[in-house]
Symmetry: C2
Subunit: 250 residues, 2 copies
């Protein structure tokens, strides 16, 4: 059974401040919890209904995960989901380690993506298109936000990220590599011959890529419009651009 | 000023039952309201802050729209948005008229898309890719749901829809036309030569296209995966498929 203190601890992880302080975050719902139990993340506590625990005992035994059996009501009280009749996991955050695209690799750069739902969707899309590295500006939403984890549908276990100063990183590391950036006035993505590797930069939901990062974009790229909508959501645009890139180079 | 009865009437339109009974729906927020005032929809009442009204008087004069000036608090009380400091419009729904793709046109078919956010996103994507007609199964979310209207970012003013029996429609009308359907085991969208026109069918978030509609799909199509994610969100998939279609045929 969950103690009051455990519930309080789990609830504190709804907030970034406490996630950073404790070095832990929440994974909620049956499928995401199953995925994290099979990943290289360290689960410090599994809170599960009796039914979920029994069905997944193989997964918890493997890591010798500490388990508390809880009611659906307590799961609801501790977690952030409107309904969760299965499980939540308290998971150790990973160290913020620098990432560099390999010479034959496509990596993503997110410059000030603010919406957690968008960030989670982008993780899922990156995972679909085999992108393993995501470099985030410090103003990008916190990847450990429960909304991001939930929207990523388990893809957070297969994608790596780093948070830091993107302009500084590009200034120091990206010489000679292609840096594609999504703009409204770039080259048509349907005709652009993508290189084998490089970075794709996606910018803020309202303002796009900021001037500090824009300086390092070597190729501006645009999704052509055939109708009246002014823009596409940044998650949608990420998917369309990666799809075009993969179509060129696999 | 808004009367109690007006607030009650507007609140009733949060529910499908009353939208159908009164033949009216809500459009909320500055940008969407500006778009609907410039569209062919009939606005029966504009509720606006004094500031919004004065800034947009040209738009309301044009249609001789009835206007009530309201406080931000009353806008919040009547509408569905967490914050709305501008306006909401009560708008007449349109008649449910049959739609048929022209011989040179791409149209969308939605078979049981349940999530209002997904439906709104799909309207916006359709609008971006110049798709003017969306045929919806009766189980698809109500397009007049405030969440759909809001997620469409104004694109609901430029796209037409019809709700009805999709299998019956396809049985009667689609002979000789290409019906593309999104499946996990279809032809790779990167190599498929799309025809000039036809229908693209997108299915339910969990179960995909149902068997009744599947019978009429003449070409199964799939977005190739390069990583670990099991699926793409249906809005994302719609965008990627339409992008590939438009790349072939503009």
């Amino acid at each position: 059974m969950l103690s009051k203190n455990q519930i309080k601890y789990i609830q504190s992880l709804h907030q970034k401040k406490y996630r950073q302080q404790y070095g832990a975050f929440l994974v909620e719902g049956a499928k995401s919890v199953q995925e994290v139990l099979q990943s290289d993340f360290q689960v410090e506590l599994l809170v599960a209904t009796d039914a979920f625990y029994k069905e997944n005992i193989r997964l918890t035994d493997r890591q010798q995960t500490p388990v508390e059996i809880a009611s659906v009501a307590d799961l609801g009280r501790a977690g952030t989901l409107e309904s969760n009749n299965a499980a939540l996991a308290v998971v150790r955050t990973k160290e913020n380690q620098p990432l560099l695209a390999d010479p034959d690799e496509i990596a993503l750069i997110l410059d000030d993506i603010r919406d957690p739902g968008n960030l989670g969707t982008i993780l899922r899309i990156a995972d679909w298109y085999g992108v393993r590295k995501i470099l985030c500006s410090e103003t990008t939403a916190d990847v450990y936000n429960p909304k991001v984890i939930s929207a990523s549908k388990g893809s957070f276990t297969r994608v790596n990220w780093w948070y830091g100063d993107i302009a500084k990183f590009l200034g120091e590391s990206a010489a000679g590599l292609s840096v594609y950036g999504a703009f409204l006035n770039g080259t048509d993505v349907h005709t652009l011959p993508f290189g084998k590797a490089g970075y794709l930069v996606m910018g803020n939901e309202s303002n796009g890529i900021g001037p500090a990062v824009e300086r390092f974009v070597s190729q501006r790229v645009t999704i052509p419009s055939y109708g009246g909508a002014e823009s596409l959501n940044v998650g949608i645009a990420t998917a369309v651009l990666l799809d075009n890139w993969r179509r060129n180079v696999t």
